[in-house]
């Protein structure tokens, strides 16, 4: 059953993203919001974990939270999709459930 996972913590400070990637089932979607957006950037200590997970999971990132933190979209891992708030809502309704990894 498709599920949307939300991550709002930095992968460098908390294990939320790591736990989500470990436990999310194939075909699930992950949206990175708030401090979670740092997990979408390439060339970091966390990026290979996300890159490896992309064969099973779809990754999204909230554009407004990127912009607030000065993260240019050119720094995102290839294959991560930027969405706006209505895109976030759409993902929420398209999936059967939402799991928030606080």
């Amino acid at each position: 059953m498709p599920m949307l996972h939300t991550i709002n913590k930095s992968p460098f400070e908390r294990g939320a993203l790591e736990s989500c990637i470990r436990l999310a089932t194939k075909g699930s979607s992950v949206i990175l919001i708030e401090d979670g957006v740092y997990g979408a950037t390439k060339g970091t200590n966390a990026s290979s974990m996300v890159e490896n997970a992309m064969k099973d999971l779809s990754f999204f990132v909230l554009g407004s939270d990127l912009k607030a933190r000065g993260v240019d979209e050119s720094r995102l891992i290839d294959g991560v999709t930027v969405v706006d708030y209505s895109g976030f809502v759409k993902l929420s309704v398209e999936n059967d459930k939402v799991q928030s990894w606080l």
Partner: protein
């Protein structure tokens, strides 16, 4: 009378997910008003506090990052950023705000306030302080 102490502020949190960064900046400015010898450290996710290009307009919250530019005017020009923290996040000093001050002992020449240092150097800086405040 020597009431001046060496104050160190250790900033380790990303800017908007929690209130720590903003609170730290407020206390830093207050300490400067009391003419203390202030140093700042940005390490771990704290390096994101001084990332350039922040624009919070779509979140409806205050972008306080321009305030860091004022630190030089308060004689706060010892700003240390840990290289290991930058590296872990795929960042370089070019991704950070350009924070400067005017050196009164050198004909008011504009100089960089940010110094990228190693963990070992950071440990030494911490060791030299009278007071350490952690955010």
């Amino acid at each position: 009378m020597s009431d001046t102490k060496k104050f160190l502020f250790v900033n380790r949190k990303a800017p908007y997910g929690t209130i720590y960064a903003w609170e730290s900046l407020e206390v830093i400015l207050i300490s400067a008003a009391f003419e203390q010898d202030v140093s700042l450290i940005f390490c771990d996710d704290g390096v994101y506090q001084i990332a350039k290009g922040q624009d919070t307009s779509e979140l409806g919250i205050k972008n306080f990052s321009p305030t860091y530019n004022a630190l030089g005017d308060y004689d706060i020009n010892k700003i240390y950023v840990e290289k290991e923290s930058l590296d872990a996040r795929g960042l370089t000093v070019d991704d950070l705000l350009k924070l400067t001050y005017e050196d009164e002992d050198d004909d008011w020449a504009e100089k960089d306030s940010i110094h990228v240092v190693s963990s070992a150097e950071l440990a030494e800086i911490m060791d030299q302080q009278d007071v350490v405040l952690s955010f």
